[in-house]
Symmetry: C3
Subunit: 193 residues, 3 copies
């Protein structure tokens, strides 16, 4: 970690510095603390207010499952769709029924739905330490190629809330079909305290 | 957690109460213990017998992988298909070759195969604390919409065995294709002791 | 664990022996240590050299995400494509544009790209204890059936590097589409120290 000179100047992109606390030296811990203060100057709950984000009502599971399960410091979040504040879902296939930009908007809306779930299930978004892992699933045509751009709609929202701690490991892929023909489904793992 | 009054009456649906042990108050711990006793009055092995479930022979991996890998308290279970007791798989695409109900039956059969694997690999199903995370993948047409109902075939079986601890975080989605044209493939994470 | 006689002679296939350290008896620990020495006689870095593997340059994320996130002993690796040393990706749909063998080669190339990422992000591949979980996603036709064989291209490489510790829990499935029409995308979890 940080044995390659080019990494030393950009701690904001280096997850290892932030997460692998027992492995980093005192110098790195100081750097990390400095970074965290800089990148996340206010609480997630305060950010929701400051950004004037309108969260939908936390969705009820559409089957035999739970919205989240917390094991130790890992919060596993069930696959969420683009639930709007009027309780309807954004539906359609990207590249056919929806444009790429509409796909981006759908992915952002999934993010708002997941924030609503975390707020309800955890009591406060301020219990979130970071986003760990994201699986972004796009309802797209066989020819569609820009899945990462679509899922950025979700990931950019996470960074708006948690700064660099909103940046996670991620896959962005195209599905054969999604429940109720929703445009995007995303499941994620959050680190919580 | 439990700061919203509407949660207080339904601990059975609130994963946080059950899992985040260090975070819950004494009162909640008592509630959780009471719930666990109520929901899971007998061992998983005893439930298998009581429900007269017929498990297939634990499948051998069809490639370079292991049936399960255990890291700490998390048991990662490889993707399983709907293996029957006669050693054949339930195949076909839901919405084309198979009805929705046949899809549900296939998902339940995946559950029986995973139970067989856990029993063999862990020595006993009684080492399972709860189901943590499920990824339910349906071999379905592009128009299919009821993936959650299909994967309930798996999840309902888990609840039959482990009560509310069988309820997990979950995604249910449609794949372009699955190995050997199996109808459903499910991977999961179990908490074990 | 190891309560079934047929398991006793093949510890190399039994993940529980290796991982569930607190659960195994002294006798099993001795067996495990012996196994590890036998299966992994040299470091992963030395294996890369010995096998004359040519790693591509570690890919930069194609969106708002990180190559890896480490939480405790788990290293979550983002979905990687078959990045070649000339900085291009292997593209096309298996069963249509690519043969099965070309799919296998693409999955192996994904493995080389992930090794490059781990080397850069962790500082050394010798920090890897084992491969824990693999999700192998094949860009394939609706009729394709041999996803496990394709993803073996990745898994066999892991076993070349880490011996039996390279064998993981795994799913191998067919996607509707993948970013930039890449042939294979793989995300994985590694245990690290």
């Amino acid at each position: 970690m940080c044995r390659q000179p080019e990494d030393c100047g950009r701690h904001m992109e280096c997850a290892c510095y932030i997460d692998a606390a027992p492995l980093v030296s005192m110098r790195h811990n100081r750097a990390t603390k400095f970074f965290k203060q800089k990148a996340n100057p206010m609480s997630a709950e305060a950010r929701i207010v400051e950004l004037k984000l309108e969260l939908p009502k936390a969705p009820k599971p559409a089957g035999t499952y739970l919205p989240v399960v917390v094991i130790g410091e890992l919060c596993y979040v069930s696959g969420h769709g683009p639930l709007k504040s009027d309780d309807t879902m954004m539906t359609g296939r990207v590249g056919q029924d929806l444009t790429e930009e509409q796909g981006v908007a759908a992915a952002r809306q999934v993010g708002l739905a997941i924030l609503a779930t975390l707020q309800k299930q955890l009591g406060s978004l301020d219990r979130v330490v970071r986003v760990v892992k994201v699986l972004g699933m796009v309802n797209s045509t066989a020819e569609f190629k820009n899945h990462p751009k679509v899922i950025n709609g979700f990931s950019d929202l996470m960074v708006e809330i948690w700064g660099e701690n909103g940046r996670a490991a991620r896959s962005a892929v195209g599905m054969g079909s999604l429940p109720g023909n929703i445009a995007v489904e995303i499941e994620a793992i959050f680190q919580v305290h």
